[in-house]
Symmetry: none
Subunit: 201 residues, 4 copies
């Protein structure tokens, strides 16, 4: 990519980033068309290639941008050592919702990036993806697992939470317009349900 992108007004940068994230998030790398981004952002086709050379280059940039931004947000959501596991996970989701104010499609896009398998971009995003996953792991390890560990194979249960969060997020985006409140309410309900059966004794 062309570093002069950063000399653009932050506003325009974000217009482009949001345009790209929206289309990529909804359509995936391959099926996203630059024309759609032109329509979504109002930024002319030539400019995308002026800064990002190729569609793959654009994808890699926006993917890295989103994951780094997410890591920054995560680093600021003050996870304490020994905090309850479910509280930590809810903080993660709240954190995602904070991104939405500036980058409405970022949470969905991140979800897409973590699943993307197109050979044109997979190598380019492997690194940040790994760093992001590592950070999630690390933060989660601060949590208090005592109640969970009473259950043999408790990680199967946490996996199910992962799958559930992703599914809820997608449902949120794919049914009309995304509502942060609605999403968080769903998240909390599911999290609580799981928490109750686990913490019960």
């Amino acid at each position: 990519m062309n570093d002069k992108f950063y000399t653009l007004k932050k506003e325009k940068q974000d217009t482009m980033i949001n345009g790209a994230m929206q289309i990529f998030a909804l359509c995936g790398y391959r099926h996203s068309s630059t024309d759609d981004m032109v329509k979504a952002s109002g930024v002319s086709k030539g400019l995308w290639f002026h800064y990002f050379d190729t569609k793959a280059g654009l994808y890699s940039f926006v993917a890295a941008y989103a994951l780094k931004y997410a890591m920054l947000e995560l680093s600021m959501c003050s996870i304490e050592d020994g905090e309850d596991y479910f509280d930590v996970r809810i903080k993660f989701e709240v954190c995602k919702m904070r991104m939405i104010d500036k980058y409405p499609y970022m949470p969905l896009f991140i979800c897409e990036v973590l699943r993307e398998e197109d050979p044109d971009v997979e190598d380019d995003i492997a690194d940040v993806r790994e760093r992001y996953n590592d950070m999630m792991q690390e933060l989660l390890l601060k949590a208090d697992y005592r109640a969970l560990r009473k259950h043999e194979d408790y990680y199967l249960l946490t996996d199910m939470l992962d799958y559930t969060m992703d599914a809820l997020l997608m449902n949120g985006y794919h049914s009309g317009s995304f509502s942060k409140e609605e999403y968080l309410s769903q998240v909390k309900k599911h999290m609580d349900a799981m928490k109750k059966v686990i913490y019960r004794d």
Copy 2:
């Protein structure tokens, strides 16, 4: 579609159906290319359009075929009234695995169909999709929910099972070659984990 498709030898019908399902399952409707199906099935390009007019027509047909076939299989897996909820769900998964012998990509394809949102096909598959979902509901209602119902919002927990089964299935297909045994083992492990925390008293 052209009804003469049914006059083809069953073997050839299945060759085409499998070719289409494989590509659609792996790439989704839009990103699937007819050339890929030609390669995957060895059936010439002209023939696909001879029987199915358009890619959308082909998709709708195969989607309907797969869901109907699945419903047939489900109807034959003898869910008894009052059977334990988790046993029923495992029967569903076993049932999916049975399809694989004749149609290796059918479970993944069904998963894809239920999520497909491309406007070119969404309307055409809405009906069967609904019928399939209804049948799943109906069968599930035969199950014994007593243990579950002790938990307020137990349906949140069953939703999580849904999301988990889908995720496991996709993982199975996207990591090399699919193994029925491996998949069922994963399914049982996760189901058991959930069952234990729920049935514990």
Copy 3:
């Protein structure tokens, strides 16, 4: 390239080959546009890429085709050992003119191929180009150089003939429609002029 190209009717093959050679000969590799070939040949854009994948692939194919065809023609123009050097060179030019009946732009195209420097194709044509040059050398070595050799640095004079033939050919094509008779007459006049000053004693 796709070998099925050879299963096309020879007529169509030649239509495409001629369309490509014309544009490539007149514009060079880079500046040639596939749209121009579509217009020149009446063959649709998709078909070019069906058989040749890329513009570079098309160029390499047509270049190899032309040079091989030229070598075939050369092999049939019966150069005898000990034939007069200038007679041999005129035979070469007559041979070029014979190609024109089936492939009107082939001589100019060959001239273009031998000068082409675009990195996208240079490697792909290096081999045939070398073989062609080798064959020209080999055939020329059959000629009777005795009169020439009386002149120190006679190869400088033959180089000048090379440059002259190329220039005459280009002039022929670039001034309206190419005339075989006019070209051969020019060639003979120049060749004679050089021959006279050299053979005079």
Copy 4:
């Protein structure tokens, strides 16, 4: 073009002229890109169009500039009436080499201009091109043709010299970095070879 170009510092004028000549000489009118000129000269893209409106306008200007400059140089190389024909031609080549100090690509560019056939610029350069050719003719007519004229159709031989000089010049530029000494040595060798066969009696 915008006459204010001449109010620029001569140094900057030459930077732009050299940048344009280099790219045009190496790539021809059509294949030359303004971005390449920006890179080659360090002058921003906007400025080129500020002074020259279009690429064609720039080309026409630089072509005229080069040919006029060449005519000026030629006028200063003191061709005497009755000087030997070959000496005159060598003076021409020496004259070209003198240009290289200020304008490294000018000789190649002139060669390119005289062959350029792109319809976008051909009309615009026709005039200067003709004047340049006329001047060359005129200067050449001062030379002593007596030895040449003994040969019927001697002009065919001088044509061959033309073609040869052009070819040598191009070889010089296209094989790594151009060497004035090497080029002049080649020129003299070829000229001598021709001279010997012609002047021998």
